[in-house]
Symmetry: D2
Subunit: 459 residues, 4 copies
């Protein structure tokens, strides 16, 4: 509905080494905690005595699942998936985990990311007789792994063999006949971490899902690492850990939950640091610092603390906004913003406002927000963006695959300022990203700001 960039998926897996716990409910609760990573479909696959059962459908986790369905999904290890799709027509066929039978058994795959050579992989497989039922990368990955299994002794051996052929972003959670396998691509574009809950091993897109279950965070999975969990414990394969890694910077800017810690960096602190850096490098005189809920709140607090200008709650967000609201015209789009967000006149009226948001994609929402501030009596509105200008498309699992949608690509900073009607506009300098990410154990991808992608893109 709003002009923001979208994450494509969240993945999760759990294995009870005691072989007793029915994990479907745990996975369901974890999908709840990862729901911000995708709201279009949800699915769970569970291994029950060597047979994988699954349930998936369009909708939020609590729309797709209920007590009866979860009770019907017995099994002590399994995986789950929430999905945002960039495709216009969203169908049930694309929901994950993707489940298939092959010569050596069954496999369920949950994928977060984007395979940039997916089409050539599909073509190659098709030439060897493969048949596809969906447009999802997960199906391609399943084929590649299943084919390789003809030659190998184990699924993990297959994965290690084929990883080098798969270009792009993939954080995978895989359920086989007797194992739970987690895979992170060699660049580590998408997050993936390990946790513990009693005698269960967890793998999750974000640590917040581990917390939601009452578990404890153990460590991030390294770029290129393959983690295999079975009844005996956990093994790690680092044969393909060949790069430092390049986590998508937008995980910290916008996608991830602030309570998650990714590659050693607290998302909340990264955002606060970006706000502080904005205060240092792009200062402005004002009365109050207002963050755009939810993703601009942390940066606003960082800006306020660093600048000494008071932090204010100038915008409130309706907690009940669901996915069914329909809009078409520009007038309705403005109203849509008003239904989602409302200015607190008593806070804003007569004040010079510093308005902090995480990014500007098309610019329409930012313009609406400035207008909300002015209508509420703001005398000045200074927009500060806690990331650098979004200039180039992303090929690694977000929905900004064309620069035509990007206002920063079409207009200069001053033109954008005018178009959103702000008194001043400033972005986080590229160097500021380093401050955000100073504790990072991996590198990070800023291709959307610089056009320098860690993987070669063929036009």
């Amino acid at each position: 509905m709003f002009d923001s960039v979208h994450e494509e998926c969240g993945v999760f897996g759990i294995f009870d080494h005691d072989g007793r716990r029915n994990v479907a409910k745990d996975i369901y609760l974890a999908l709840y905690a990862l729901q911000h990573r995708g709201q279009q479909s949800a699915g769970i696959a569970v291994n029950y005595n060597g047979a994988i059962n699954h349930h998936k459908d369009l909708g939020l986790a609590n729309e797709v699942f209920n007590e009866m369905i979860l009770n019907g999904l017995g099994g002590y290890f399994g995986c789950g998936h929430v999905r945002y799709s960039k495709e216009k027509s969203v169908t049930r066929d694309e929901a994950q985990p993707f489940l298939a039978k092959h010569i050596k058994g069954q496999i369920a795959i949950a994928h977060n990311g984007n395979i940039i050579n997916a089409q050539s992989l599909r073509d190659e497989l098709s030439e060897r007789g493969a048949m596809f039922q969906s447009a999802s990368d997960a199906e391609v990955l399943a084929h590649i792994i299943a084919r390789e299994r003809l030659k190998t002794e184990s699924t993990e051996a297959s994965i290690l063999n084929v990883m080098k052929d798969i270009k792009g972003a993939f954080s995978l959670v895989i359920v086989t006949m007797n194992k739970l396998i987690a895979v992170r691509d060699e660049n580590g574009f998408r997050p993936l971490c390990i946790g513990k809950l009693g005698n269960c091993t967890i793998v999750s897109s974000e640590s917040c899902a581990i917390d939601a279950l009452g578990g404890t965070f153990v460590r991030d999975i390294e770029p290129g690492e393959v983690v295999v969990v079975d009844i005996n414990g956990m093994k790690s394969y680092k044969d393909n850990c060949v790069k430092k890694g390049s986590l998508c910077i937008f995980e910290h800017v916008y996608f991830a939950r602030p309570d998650s810690i990714i590659d050693n960096v607290s998302v909340h602190f990264a955002r606060k640091a970006a706000g502080a850096e904005l205060a240092m490098t792009k200062p402005v005189e004002a009365d109050i610092v207002v963050g755009v809920p939810d993703s601009g709140i942390d940066a606003a607090l960082g800006y306020a603390e660093k600048s000494g200008i008071p932090y204010g709650i100038g915008l409130t967000k309706n907690r009940y906004i669901g996915r069914t609201f329909i809009q078409t015209s520009a007038a309705e789009r403005l109203q849509a913003v008003k239904i989602k967000l409302n200015a607190l006149k008593s806070v804003v009226n007569g004040k010079r406002i510093i308005l902090i948001d995480d990014s500007i994609v098309r610019g329409t929402t930012t313009a609406s927000l400035v207008s909300l501030m002015r209508d509420a009596g703001a005398t000045e509105v200074h927009v500060r963006i806690s990331s650098p200008p979004f200039l180039y498309p992303c090929y690694f699992g977000t929905d900004i695959d064309s620069q035509d949608k990007l206002i920063a690509h079409r207009l200069t900073e001053e033109e954008i300022r005018i178009s959103i009607d702000a008194d001043t506009l400033a972005y986080l300098p590229l160097e500021g990203v380093k401050k955000m990410m100073k504790d990072s154990k991996t590198g990070y991808c800023v291709g959307c700001f610089t056009r320098k992608y860690p993987v070669k893109i063929e036009e």
Copy 2:
């Protein structure tokens, strides 16, 4: 709910040679007319400018489809499917048509029948790297055809090549990028016929669906025949027409609608003839002949006409019985019969009844019906079955795959008579089947009566 034998599917296809008609609604109406062949799932696949779209789900056709969904399925040729599954757990994944992409394009397959070497075909395909997402034979067939397409110039060439490898029953309707293809196995176990509607060519499991659309029946597809329909017209390939054929006798006994004509035999007349033959060979003195609705009605009329004993409406059937009624205990099973069928006391009371039903499978329903007659005041109840004793399992697309369920396998005729509490019990003699089928252009399979199957069964 009731102890009868079940058909597994109905298939349908239509191609508008003018390329103008949106055929989804026609297919929907046809599925309505074929609904008696399967009530568990329904699906439609339509070719829209070379891309195949589909919609399918669990439920009756009018539960799965609505105006909006049908309007969204544009395209001038397509196929449809209704399904009964013998599996206990019925899932959406098994619904057909089965849709897949392969090296040479897309394919949608609707299948009626049962492939008896499906497992070995699956194994073979798996060894060559194939991956399966369902337990359905349609997926196996899609794989075989798609693989063969690597070597051939056309889908029909592929089909003609692989037909000899596929053992068992298959009446297929296939939609490709530009063709509608109908295939009947060399034994012709399941029916398949051709019709016309304006400038459209139709293929259908039964002629009643052609009638429902206002079309005209053209001819049956021969056992082994492959019919290819495209924008230019229709072609027939009879390379694999090597046998006389052996239509499943239960199509005429019970499955098909009485208004259908299969392999030159009117289903209604076949049933009437069976009734007449029963009257000749298994006569009994009585006051009235009562047919069990719906499938025993025609035979009862035949019996009455031949014997001179009046035809009576002694049982009425509730038109609103749906699939949601739940029963568990034997007491509830008796009540379930009462809810479905009620005796007309005014007809039955004080009379000697000849009760005609099509078959006895487990015997529980027949016993309930005799009890209904006696409770309504019948002084004698003479049960006549319009087919020979069901003694052996069927491997060609019904759900009687084990003889343990068959009362005729466990008990003698006299024991059955006692267990259903009838005064007399008689079956149609095997020779009577010849009379039923005297106009048949193909042969017929009576393996369930004789254990002589037209295809070798490996135990």
Copy 3:
């Protein structure tokens, strides 16, 4: 969908004198058996320890109820209702039983019929301060009974007092704090009978629902009778039994199930008798007698037996026709007939057909049926209608409240014959109705044929 006359409702009640049985499931099964009397909404009200709970909604009984809902409706006595509404906009508010609290407790009312002075009763109640939430007569009846309760000692006393003020048709089943009460208006327009099931007393629109539960029919409730059932047994009040009664003739012609017995007349035999009478009074030379399923079947058998012309199954009905099929144009209406009914060409082809239907309302369906016969090869089609011409509106609970819809009102018999394209057309003579109803213990209303209504109609 089709141009037939419609019944408006079915009612049912049950009281377990042992106070132990949970009757909601019995009521549900009974509504199944009465479903032909109304398909738009279904409802159940049950008395649980002196509090009446209910569930009702739009839809068939098996769509409105499920195991969980039925389990939630505990109580050893209650009532149920299925409804057909003549109103165009069908809303949930009109579903019955209608439930209300008044000064002396709670009341649930299920009503079959039509109150012809409902508007003046409403006006009078409104002037005394009453408030209405629906357009249903049941709410008016509840108000009248509840008001009268201010002056009386019991609900039955109230009912007996007010019955004379209520003009028109009403068969009521009422649940109070401790009683089940059944009321039939003094003309007995709509059926209502009593049955037994173990130690339970049943009241039902038709005896077929008693049979469906495995109960036994006891007797009809007399026109004007009030039957009160409580823990101690059953009492009858005949203070208002002042007339012989005048059952709606269409109950026997079309509405009721053939296995029901109403006012001592078997519906099946009444229809057979009408057919026999047609054979005697309106004979024609032909090869075969075909009944239009389902309501013309019995009359066709009667015609065949009396005339000596063979009874044939020339039309088959699709068992799966549901309420969701949408039609708009005349072409679609013809197709709708084809989807519902199909001619058996093998029976009809080359034959002179006598086609028996129960009535002609608008004439469009009859025309379609004649056309079906001719398309199937009938050389002559002689239409025989097993009731007299439907000439005048009905005010007693059917949906023909205006004569404009009636083809017999607009056209002569010969004009109708031409419009439906029949070779000959004949109706049952009015005197023939006497033969149908010769065993009736009450009189019957034939106002729709004669304009002589048993109750004065103010225009």
Copy 4:
């Protein structure tokens, strides 16, 4: 799910003086904005050419309504309602607006509040023959107003006459044949205000709904005031404005949205003031002030600003928590808190925390939150509650109708501190409430803290 006090309803109305706008969609958007006041049912009633149509059901506004339903609700004035019910069994019958027909036309009533003499009003009405279909106060109010209409010339005259007889809390929005009427009880327990949108007049429980539509706030409706809106404009009747008023203090403490302004007090500022007052009167040394989202956030900011201790985001709330999550045991309750709220370890770890929440009802959630903080590494947890101890039941429209549920009634402050495992615990002093409400134009009810209710309560 959580042990908090609940508001019972939100009401809204709009009238287009131009008579052109279809207001159903506006009402829908307003219900979205008022959704926090009730999540169990939603309803809209619209006057279309003098007839009132409505739609209502269980669920959130976006579950109950869709584009098609809203398009079907034409009309240029109407009202809406969202409901929280304290009853255990929530049924569709209780959904509002309540719609009825009476002698002078139709009426739709939407009610927020609680009538404390409802039972005696019901009894009195019943004695005069009234019948009730629900347990809702709205039905009682409709009866009283409709009865009075027998004697008066207008609905407003009726309302003014009967207001003195109705004891308790009621903010009403009423739609009649040609008017929109808003009524606030003489104590003004529940909020109600007036807004403008183009040439439309709005009445709303909270100003946030006016903002959501892009309208402008005009003024609060005074305690006892009756506002009548029709095609000609707006009239105010203050005959019953006899008291200063006593707004429920929990509207400011917890119920209302922070962006609403009620009786001249900004909810956000009232909460901030409460926090500041806590800092002044109940100081404690600590490192960081953390608010419990969402209602504790504003008070936490107030505490932080006044104390100089930094404001921190120590808890994050899952935005996707819906109503379907099911819990039963204490262990699941703790997990439920974890799914809803997560501690930010990076913020909390090693810190002395001041945790600010709005109130303690049963105490279980507060205990879980302290435990979350300690698990995240907090060295000390000092709980500060931004309202005085909740000691006595409320009779004016919340769900705390018994003091047994209230931990503060059973335990001393020290016992509560121990039971929630806090290092210190302090509440806002009663005098602090004065500071919160210093700008209030009305008084406020603090009966839940003091047992001094503005209306006499008969036990």
